[in-house]
């Protein structure tokens, strides 16, 4: 299980009753740091301050819908696992969300705590693995570059 303190989850829902519930639930059950927002703009602003492993968003909100919001999240933090939590059981929107926002999971309200926590843990794990992969890739590219440089210097020295 991930250690609390280094994994962050963002929950966005225009209804405070949901964000409050999530705050308590995830703080207690998921050992995750939880940041909750009731306005999409506030949530977007917080993306500049912190890297999130998981972003959970409501679907219907004033100003911006959940799919649009998650698309913005993908642009800013591509490795984040994106989850839609919706009160509308609407297959078409689910498919749209999966295609457009590269959804990791789709939840319908009311949700099941146990399943939610499990999915969130998996989502955190996925994000961390993706990031690890990214950093390994970056390291590889860096080493490749250093190697190339070394080879060039070696060639120069020999010739």
């Amino acid at each position: 299980m991930t250690e609390k303190g280094d994994s962050w989850i963002l929950v966005l829902d225009d209804d405070p009753i949901v964000t409050r519930t999530m705050q308590i639930l995830l703080g207690e059950e998921a050992s995750l740091n939880v940041a909750t927002f009731n306005h999409p703009s506030d949530a977007l602003a917080s993306l500049d301050d912190r890297e999130y492993e998981v972003v959970v968003s409501d679907f219907v909100m004033p100003g911006m819908d959940g799919i649009e919001f998650l698309k913005r999240v993908r642009e800013q933090q591509p490795s984040t696992s994106r989850i839609l939590l919706t009160g509308y059981a609407d297959k078409q929107n689910a498919i749209r969300a999966i295609n457009e926002a590269g959804l990791y999971y789709y939840f319908e309200k009311p949700w099941d705590n146990e399943k939610l926590v499990m999915v969130l843990h998996n989502a955190v794990e996925r994000a961390r693995l993706v990031r690890e992969l990214d950093s390994k890739m970056a390291e590889l590219v860096h080493r490749d570059n250093s190697l190339e440089e070394l080879r060039a210097r070696l060639l120069k020295a020999i010739l």
Partner: protein, 416 residues
Amino acid sequence: MRASFNEELLSLLGSVVEQLPDSVRLLGRDGRTLLRNDAAREMGADGLGHLCGGGHEKADPSCPACQLQVVLERGLFLRWHVMVDRGSEDSDVYEVTLSPVRDSNGDVVAVLEMMRDATAVLSLENYLISRAEKHEAELSKTSENAQRLVKRAEKLRTELGELRESQTEMLYQDRLEALSLFVASVAHDINTPLGAMLSSADLMVRTVPRLRDASDGVDGERVGEFRRRLETLESSVEVLADAARRIEGILRQLRLFSRLDEAPFEEYDLHQGLDSTIELLRHKLTDRIGVVRNYGEIPRVTCRPDACNQAFMNLLLNAAQAIDGEGEIRIATRHEGNEVVVEIGDTGSGIPQEALEKVFELGFTTRGGRGGSGIGLALVHRIVREHRGRVEVASRLGRGTTFRVRLPIAHPADGS
């Protein structure tokens, strides 16, 4: 005075007779003309003489039995028609009247002959007859028309009935549409707070044993009180969680009620649906309720399987809830024409007659305060109607209730 009055009257009568346009003759017993008026003179004795053998005194070939003699001997009044050929295309018809003239002893002493041109009368008669015939023909034609009209009226009446029915159906669909939208929006509005409630209640249920564990090994005089209050909390939280879950169940039905048309139609074995539904309900039926299956040979039905199973589920739940103590649920299926009939009966308490008409109305329940939401049977009705089927209910108090669902075998979109 009297004599002069009689003379005057006679001369008046004579002049009246004289002026008559019809020929009038008084004939003696010997057949000779005693008196004649102007018209008779005009026609000429010869002109008419041949008709009756010179003024009835002789036998005439066209008059085998001289009518004059009949009148003289038997005192009868006679009338007939003769046709006088004028030699041209049209012929005249005369009406001849012979009437006996009696003396004071009652003996026939003379015969009064009157001849009247009846051509006009006859042609009028003919005209009237032909008109009557024409009318008769028209009348029969009219009666034919009337029959046709009656048939058309009947057809129109049937069509009107069908129209009214489809109008009622449309009104029902409109109302259903509005109701569905309303239900969907209410369900959505309830969803969010319910989600929070379910989640929080669940978390509380999980937290209580953790609190108990945390108090383990703690000594002190107030630990007992703490444990007792924890038990109160635990019970209340469980009630809260149960209540929230029940709302969730009602909400699920409501959402299904408003979203029926999303699922696709497919060919489905209703027996499979019934069996799996019974299996799902096994824990609710327990040992107190036996399930008797009387399945007939039925074809696969083109339907929305989930919706049909939901309908069976609600009917079975309803049946189970109608049974206090031990009882039986009887399920029968059969194939009837282009329909499959599914009967779900129970040996429960039955439904009062006045409630029977309302059982399919949304919000109607006889289990007020005992978990009846009034959605279950309304949803059954909705689902069956969506399939262009029918659902009927028959019940006897104290004996039980049977719901009969009729589903068309073919897709409802075909042939509608």
